[in-house]
Symmetry: C2
Subunit: 86 residues, 2 copies
């Protein structure tokens, strides 16, 4: 297992990490314990990672960040929707 | 602003993103809406990013991942502690 393999597995793990949170929030319809700033900062950061990936033409970087971006945008939408409930 | 600058800003944003969540969980002592799997997967992924950073001798990668690792370990500890409360 060389460095590139380790980097790829690392990227898959950190990209997939948001999925259980999206599933949990979707199921429970509860998001009060979540900070809105975490997904907001991550979306801002990942947009830049995506731009960086395009600039250095690195496909794994582009793909991983697009996927996570979509998940975090979804999480922000759910947080805003569910916190409005009484 | 070249690609490296964009990558550095991206890294700072995504590394710092966990801080508001740690602060919110610490203040509210509530973590029920958090999925334990998100920090667990991130810790596993970031350990590998750290190993990858050491292998390719990339200091920003090492530093950013060590910082985030510490934050997520703290978050896991708080989640386990606060969820045990009645």
């Amino acid at each position: 297992m060389n460095a590139t393999h380790i980097g790829l597995v690392a990227g898959v793990l950190t990209s997939m990490a948001v999925v259980p949170q999206v599933v949990r929030t979707w199921r429970t319809k509860q998001a009060r314990d979540l900070s809105i700033w975490q997904p907001l900062l991550l979306v801002a950061g990942m947009l830049l990672w995506f731009v960086y990936g395009v600039m250095i033409e690195d496909l794994p970087l582009i793909a991983a960040n697009l996927f996570s971006l979509a998940c975090y945008v979804l999480l922000i939408g759910m947080k805003l929707a569910y916190d409005r409930k009484p």
